[in-house]
Symmetry: C3
Amino acid sequence: MFLKDIAARIDAELVDCDPGIWIESVSPLDKAVKGDISFFTNVKYKDAADKTKASAIMVSKKDAGMLSGLPLMLVESPYLAMAEVSTFFMQDNRPAPGIAQNAYVAGDAVINKSATILPMAYVGSKAQIGAKTVIYPGVVIEDSAIIGRDCLIYPNCSILRCCRIGNRVIIHSGSVIGSDGYGFAPDGSTYRKIPQTGIVQIDDDCEIGAGNTIDRATFGKTWIKRGVKTDNLVQIAHNVEIGEDTLLVAHVGISGSTKIGKHCILAGKTGVVGHIEIGDDVIVGGRSSINKSLASGSIVSGTPAIPHRDALKVYATIPRLPEMRRQITELTKQVKELQKKLAEVSDGYK
Amino acid sequence: MFLKDIAARIDAELVDCDPGIWIESVSPLDKAVKGDISFFTNVKYKDAADKTKASAIMVSKKDAGMLSGLPLMLVESPYLAMAEVSTFFMQDNRPAPGIAQNAYVAGDAVINKSATILPMAYVGSKAQIGAKTVIYPGVVIEDSAIIGRDCLIYPNCSILRCCRIGNRVIIHSGSVIGSDGYGFAPDGSTYRKIPQTGIVQIDDDCEIGAGNTIDRATFGKTWIKRGVKTDNLVQIAHNVEIGEDTLLVAHVGISGSTKIGKHCILAGKTGVVGHIEIGDDVIVGGRSSINKSLASGSIVSGTPAIPHRDALKVYATIPRLPEMRRQITELTKQVKELQKKLAEVSDGYK
Amino acid sequence: MFLKDIAARIDAELVDCDPGIWIESVSPLDKAVKGDISFFTNVKYKDAADKTKASAIMVSKKDAGMLSGLPLMLVESPYLAMAEVSTFFMQDNRPAPGIAQNAYVAGDAVINKSATILPMAYVGSKAQIGAKTVIYPGVVIEDSAIIGRDCLIYPNCSILRCCRIGNRVIIHSGSVIGSDGYGFAPDGSTYRKIPQTGIVQIDDDCEIGAGNTIDRATFGKTWIKRGVKTDNLVQIAHNVEIGEDTLLVAHVGISGSTKIGKHCILAGKTGVVGHIEIGDDVIVGGRSSINKSLASGSIVSGTPAIPHRDALKVYATIPRLPEMRRQITELTKQVKELQKKLAEVSDGYK
């Protein structure tokens, strides 16, 4: 594509660029060669920008001054522009529609004609696979599970009995949707399994990372709402609800029956106890422990989680604890000394 | 089933109920409709109980007073009763016995006639599968592995070479039983692999969550004893022993050669170092770090773990650290001031 | 093998042993019987050594004095010797070469004649499998992925599109190599996926644990260099680089674009933020949080991570926080009292 055509499609203004240059791909500043578009998102990369061989650099109007003299494309958000321009150069890897001979598809499964079922995949009885959806090798879609259209279910995922996946959902390799919730009733000596009779429902436009485990509900459904994106190795327990466009980063774990609102971000390794409610637009720092409900708009960190601003002060204080302890010991000694001396002075005065 | 028949089977006393009503299912208080049985286990749900449409509410005698006037079933443990009554309404999803045409079963594997091997499953040479056990699609049972009777091995699990699984064991999707232990000997510049020649043994009535990794022993066996229940994404290293009826919650990790007793509970994200012993009936709070042996009956939390009662006080103090630091600075100033003034007074007096 | 032949092969000196005894296997001290070789690596096991029935105990010259009178084999490193001797007794489990009838191999995949593709494995278009490599059941090797020679890719792993694996690499069950990086650009209301167009490259002699997730790069490659060993359930984000011979223990997570040097050890449950650099020979204690770059040779622990020596003092102080708070309150009271009394004395004096 010519640079001027790319600029037109993403509504970018060209500055000091050759609009007629032929663009081959998108690359980071330090790897780009002539014919590449690059992007500038962080002042850390100013040096790389000065040295880049890219034929154009996408940059926000705000940061453009820093790069004056370089070939620039002024955009609203270079990150977003990079995401969009990258798609112009992507090969379509979606395999041809049809059911591979080496796949297993139950006779009463309903597979859309434009869907792809690759070899070594399994689709159970009464399962449904929507239009243009791809079921990769090693995937198991159990009986009565429903997968919408334009989904990508990557290798070795397990979508278990009766679970429902919306449209344009991506599930990365090795994830498990619909394992039994962790529910046991102590009977005095051992534990009795509580049947997990519900399902998992994942709504449109979600992306589930690799190696996730999302448990089915005891009753009703575990519910991942529209636009949720999870990173890898995330654990979501039975009857949890995750609101629209919420992000759960790697190694996050959410305990049973907890509800999380929309547009939240839970950073890596955060844990959330069960049976609480987290509002909308909540941001939780990495490795935090949430043990009570949080109002919408909260920004918290730590174990236990406290307002992030306070947590930063706590984190700054922790390394000084041994020093603080010594100071307290010293103060205690000095105060005793003072008490003794004052008593002497006081006595002497009398 | 008629309500009176259910009550008779679980030995419950009916209060203000219609014993002749036909019951269709078990539901939580807020979702229940006429014809449902519900259950009351937590005072948080008092409102939901007052508004429920359930035809009967299972409740402990202790809590019954709170719900007077509602249709009640008095039971010992509503949680246990709910577990039991749920099973009355469960469909039997166990597929018909037999080896699917699209499964791979080695010629010398020993498959009980009442076992089920579903399509896309693999059973290796000299492996044994017990009566009524179901091997779901995508499961790999390697050579010489032995699976008992009445087990459910869910999709895409890997039960590796020579491992032994008891009776009535459930292993959820994506779990790995018998990966090599993490053992390397430094040879000065790089690492040399220590062969992992042992196995994993999982005894009767265990339930292993989804996405678990349980490593085989260097020598001998990694041993998961009767009735252990693990949640999802739990890591158990080589030569670990977990005692009967112990619970390991999601994201827990146990390092090599550690022994954990019976009836313990390790809450989510807890980590345990290697080569230590944890007694029986030990309870460990979420995200704790256990770095030394613990006596039976210990209740601990934190990093490093200390008695839980003390840990609660520590957690309550942590947010006040910056304030404490300011106080120490202020006290130091005041004490210096006092020392100076006292010296003046003392000098003046002399 | 005769003991004298083993001793000769590993260059060990026999003390109080019968060099002509026939050795059957390697065993830990407490399990060994006559005809076994054992090893002594930790003073904790002195009792077990005194009671062992092993025919020879591998021990360092330094520790030999502790075990005088017992049948000893003096070696440089008993751990390394144990690793080596174990291999003498290992059965070769590598299956016969060839492509199983029940495997799926694309017509244009390139499979070395000495490689093994087991039943239920999938090898996609233009993929390459090197000499003597074994692809176990349930493994998915996607299109254009390249696997070197002498590799073991264990059951149910997913090696995705275009990823490159070197020689003598072991990947344990259920691991995912090449899932999409977690990259989304907020567009004001929801998130837009940033295409992940790079690959994962794993160099020679690496061993990847079970249930790992290693994401492909946004551009370029996520790079695991020669000799890296990861434990189970490790998460490695897009564009990360891990240096030669570095160890990542279970549940470790590395965020995007971070570079880690050679010969580092990151203990279990440690998390590392994105876009930082960790030098060579860095050691990080368990459950640490690394939020800024670290110089080579650093030894750190904690959240946030500080020098390990200081962290030990911090950990020792934390349980005393409630006591420290009481002391501060008490000191504040006493200082006020002193101020008052001193004022009185001072006034009286005037």
